[in-house]
Every structure is written in C-alpha cells, then in structure tokens.
C-alpha cells in the first residue's frame, strides 16, 4: 500500500521534468511551438490537480475541509440541474444584463463628454478615484432598492462596470495622434466621421481593456451581491448556504462553474478583441 502522497509527489517531479524538457525544445515549425505553449501549462495544471488529490488522500484531510478533485467532479456530474439553474440566475440574467448596460452606459457617457474638455477634466479624476473604491459595498443598498431577485444584482454590476469603461474610453478617444486628426481635417471630415473612422478604431484597444477588466468584475459583483439576499437560487446563494451546511464539495463545484464561466467570458472578449483590433502591434505579434 503506497502512500498516495508519494505517488502524487513522483507525478509532480515527472511532470516538472517533462516541462523542463519541453521548454528546452525549440522545434522549427510554428505549429509545434504553439502546441508546446499549450501543453506546458496543461501539464502543470494536471500536476497541481494530482498533487491536490495526493495530499488530501495521503494525509487523510477530512473532505469537510478540502475535498479531493475527484469528489468535486463527481458532485458536478451529479448536480447538473442545480448548477445550471444557478448559472442561469446569476450569469445569464444578472451578469450579462448588468455587463451590457454598464459597459454601454460608460461608453455612451464617454462619447457625450468627449466634446467638453471641462467635463472630462472633472469626471476623469473622479472616475479613477471611484475605480479604486470598494464599490461592492453598495450591494446591500441595491438589494434594498431593487429587491432580492436579479435586478438588484444587475444594478451592482452596472455600477461596477461603468467607471472602468468610462475612464478607458475617454483615454482611448484621446489616443489617436495629432497628425492623424490633421489628416482627417484635410479630408474635411466632420466630427462624427472623424469619430467613427479614426478615433473609435484607435480607442478600440482601450475599450477592450475595459471590457476584459469588467468581465471579471461583473461576475464578482453578481456573486457577492447574492450574499446580501436572494431568492433560493443563484451561485452566490448556493455558495453561502452550502458553506453553512458544510457541503464543501458543492461549494467547490459552484466555484468550478464560476471559474469556467469567468474564463470563457474573458476568452470570448479576448477573441473579439483579436478580431476587431487585428491591426494592433500586440495582436500582430510585432
């Protein structure tokens, strides 16, 4: 009977050696290099999971404290309907609606104040300041105003995503160079033509930066807002009640879903960024 911890440790060392070997290879074809870039973090991730499993089993850590990954996986497979209902309540309603409204409002306000340098100088420092504040604290107020269901969570998400979008869009609109704007003037382009053909495309990297930051903020906002009161469904609700009932495997299953949703959300925004800002040096890899 070998100790699972020893096995996991051996696996870890083997995986690390494999990675050290992989990163030293520098194959000619670009496709192979891409494959290695994907493979190395994957091997590391699997090694972390194996180590986790090994530590929990090897030291007989009670599953109330830290369930092994296999147990979490079993729980995910067994409770798909609950997880799906929570996902729909939290992500498809609160997060997506709040995200679209918050980012849209931030973007529109940035366009509106674009013509007034006075308002910009007044709003930008405030926006930067508000971005550093613990905005999440307004969650209880929003729950009082908009009730327990998803609108209050969406309201929290709107406020959290508004300011990063505002600040980044205003900065982005200032990003086009003077010589480019002069060129548009020599073309006799109007304000709106310059905006759509030059300044908005030039602002795209900044706008996508805000969209990426906001994709994480939105999920955090919606889940934490549910700690302050929800109907009996939702990811934050499930996490806080199952913690109380010591069903830690369910909590981890919920976290796995949240992590997956967050990563996919971020990935979709990043893919959209690559498609829209294909001309930018950071995308061309130059």
């Amino acid at each position: 009977m070998t100790n699972p911890f020893i096995l996991a440790l051996l696996f870890w060392i083997a995986a690390w050696a494999l990675n050290e070997w992989l990163v030293r290879l520098s194959p000619r074809p670009a496709a192979m290099r891409r494959l290695i870039d994907v493979l190395v973090p994957l091997v590391f991730g699997v090694a972390v999971l194996a180590m986790w499993e090994g530590v929990v089993r090897g030291f007989a850590i009670p599953s109330v404290l830290l369930p092994p990954p296999s147990m979490i996986w079993a729980r995910i497979v067994n409770s798909v309907p609950i997880l799906w209902a929570d996902f729909r309540q939290t992500f498809l309603k609160a997060v997506l609606i709040g995200y679209v409204l918050g980012c849209g409002a931030g973007f529109l306000v940035a366009i509106l104040i674009d013509r007034s340098p006075f308002l910009q100088r007044g709003l930008l420092p405030l926006g930067n300041f508000v971005s550093a504040l613990p905005i999440i604290g307004i969650a209880p107020i929003m729950v009082m105003w908009f009730g327990f269901d998803w609108p209050s969570k969406a309201a929290v998400v709107i406020i959290m995503t508004f300011f990063p979008m505002l600040v980044n869009t205003v900065q982005g609109l200032a990003a086009s160079s003077a010589i480019d704007r002069d060129l548009m003037r020599t073309y006799a382009a109007g304000y709106w033509q310059t905006l759509f053909k030059l300044r908005l495309p030039a602002a795209a990297p900044f706008i996508f930066n805000a969209l990426k930051i906001n994709s994480t903020l939105a999920l955090i906002g919606a889940i934490v807002a549910e700690f302050f009161g929800t109907p009996i469904v939702g990811m934050g609700f499930r996490i806080s009640t199952e913690v109380g009932r010591m069903n830690v495997d369910m909590v981890w299953a919920e976290i796995a879903v949240a992590a997956l949703a967050g990563s996919v959300f971020y990935g979709v925004v990043a893919l959209a960024e690559r498609a829209v800002t294909f001309w930018h040096p950071s995308v061309r890899g130059g």
Binding site: F44, L65, L66, P125, A178, I239, V248, S263
Partner: protein, 311 residues
C-alpha cells in the same frame, strides 16, 4: 484631444486676472463643480426616493403639508431609502468623534479592524508576488507553466470563495485576523506578480548585454539592473493591490457572522435596514481606500525621485 483643447485655455489665462482662470485651467474647478452637481443630484434623489413613505405618514396623520415641509422631512427620516449627505456625515461624526475609538459603536474601531487585516494581507501578498515574479523571470519552465495560470486565475471570481476560505480556516483553528488577511493576500498577489514580471523584464537587451560585458553574476544583474528598473511597475501594481486588498478584507467580513469590521457593519446595516449606517460604513471604506492609495502614491514619487527617475 485633451491637450489641444486645454492649450487655448492655458494660453489665455495670463491675460485675465488671477486665481479663477488658473483654477479653470487645472483640474480643481471642474472636479469641484462635478462633485457639487453630484451632491445636488443626491439631494434631489433623496427627496424623490423618500417621498412615498413620507406622503404615507402625512396621509395617516392627516396633516396638511407644503413642499418645504416635504423636503425637510424627507431629508430627516430615521430609516430613509436614500439618506441625505448631511445625515451620513452627521452619523460619521457621531460614530468617529463622539464615541471612544475603542468602543464597538465607533466607526474608527471597525475601520481599524478592516485596515489591520488589509495591511497584513497586502504585505503578505506583495512579498509572495515579488518572490513568484523573481522565480518566473529566472526559470523558463516556471514562466511557461505558471504564467498562463496566473493570467487565467485573474478571470476567476476569487472573491466568491472568500466565505469558504474563512470557514475552512476557522475549522482548522485559524481565527481572527489571519483568515481575512489571507483573502487579501490572495487577491493582492496577482497584480504584483503580473506587474513585477513585466518590470523585471523591462531592461533593454542592450543593458543586459552591458551587464554581461561587466561579467556580472545573476545576483548582481538582479540587484543593480532588474530590481531598480522594476520599481515603477511595482508601485503601479501596489496601488491596484492595496485597493483590491481592502475589497478582499471587506468581503471577508461578510460571511460567518463576523462581528467587527466595515463589512460586518454593512451586513448588520442591511439586516436591520439601517441605511445611514450602511452609507457611513461605505464612506469610511472609500476614505480608507483613498488614504491607502495616496500613501502608496507618495511612496512611488519618493522612490522615483531618489532614483532620479521622476519626470
């Protein structure tokens, strides 16, 4: 855009007399006006949102009321939907100045509880982040395997597991400050890793080559070239990290019936409908965030000045 628009104003300033035009050219006057507009709008909303309840009171007691009565009464309710700014500041004044700082009713006491776990978590997170960044910069396998996960972990709503971490650590026997601080650590270490990896890699190849021609060891290159050039990146990350540490500490106080701290204050306020208490805790949190970021900013300027890097 901003510079071209600001230039004529700045150029015109010396011709007009004095302080007002100089204020208008800088950021101060616009900020003051925007803040004033927000305060006015706040009072408007406070009257509007508190009106239905107040009208109900008037109707039940059968009093006749004028608009002035309505405004006065909506701004002085016990449990308003939206408290007016002066109510919030009166509450803050009452709970900070008129109560001993050691009392449980003092907002300063709760702010201190939150601040201490924020600072502990921030210090641990910064240390961990710098160490990890040093390893990542010096080991290629570490870079390739850990870095994608560091980036991916940013997309995961880590705050969501805050209550769980607290419960698990409580079960292990860790109570009090440390569990909350660990959440702040967890949140604050990511920006530091990302910023420091970028910073430690920021020396130009030509500078690294120069160090090689001096036959500098890896340690010498690190202390004399990489570390100093990473300083601006470090401080920029620290500002993000300290703000997020505070958020972590507040959220860490939400679950499991914490009795002290700004987060516990928020939760208690929401249970008992004490909106004024919620808002004053929020303002206290905002003030803490502003102070922390300002302190880091001052450190930033001081270090850059001593290194001759200030612009």
């Amino acid at each position: 855009m901003r510079t071209s628009a600001a230039a004529p104003v700045a150029a015109a300033a010396p011709q007009q007399e004095g302080v007002l035009s100089r204020l208008a050219a800088g950021n101060t006057l616009p900020i003051v006006i925007v803040v004033a507009a927000i305060v006015v709008a706040w009072y408007g909303f406070a009257v509007y949102l508190n009106m239905p309840w107040q009208l109900g009171v008037y109707e039940r007691s059968g009093t006749t009321w004028t608009f002035a009565d309505l405004v006065r009464d909506t701004l002085a309710q016990e449990r308003p939907v939206l408290p007016s700014p002066h109510q919030v500041f009166a509450e803050m004044w009452r709970t900070t100045v008129e109560v001993a700082p050691t009392s449980r009713r003092s907002l300063l006491y709760h702010a201190w509880v939150t601040l201490s776990s924020t600072l502990l978590g921030f210090a641990l997170g910064t240390l961990l982040g710098i160490l990890l960044a040093v390893f990542i910069v010096h080991n290629r396998a570490m870079d390739k395997s850990v870095m994608p996960w560091v980036v991916a972990s940013q997309t995961i709503p880590i705050l969501a597991i805050a209550p769980m971490i607290i419960v698990v650590l409580n079960a292990v026997g860790l109570t009090g400050l440390l569990p909350k601080a660990l959440i702040s650590t967890y949140l604050s270490f990511f920006p530091v890793v990302v910023g420091m990896v970028k910073g430690l890699r920021s020396p130009e190849p030509i500078q690294l080559d120069l160090m090689r021609t001096y036959s500098a060891s890896a340690a010498q290159t690190f202390w004399k070239l990489r570390w100093p050039s990473a300083m601006p990146y470090l401080f920029t990350s620290l500002k993000v990290a300290v703000a997020i540490s505070l958020v972590g500490a507040i959220v860490g106080e939400l679950p499991t019936g914490a009795v002290a701290g700004l987060g516990a204050r928020l939760l208690a306020g929401s249970y008992y409908g004490q909106t004024v208490q919620i808002w004053s805790a929020l303002f206290m949190a905002a003030a803490l965030a502003a102070i922390l970021v300002a302190v880091i900013g001052a450190g930033h300027r001081m270090v850059l000045k001593r290194m001759g890097m200030a612009q």
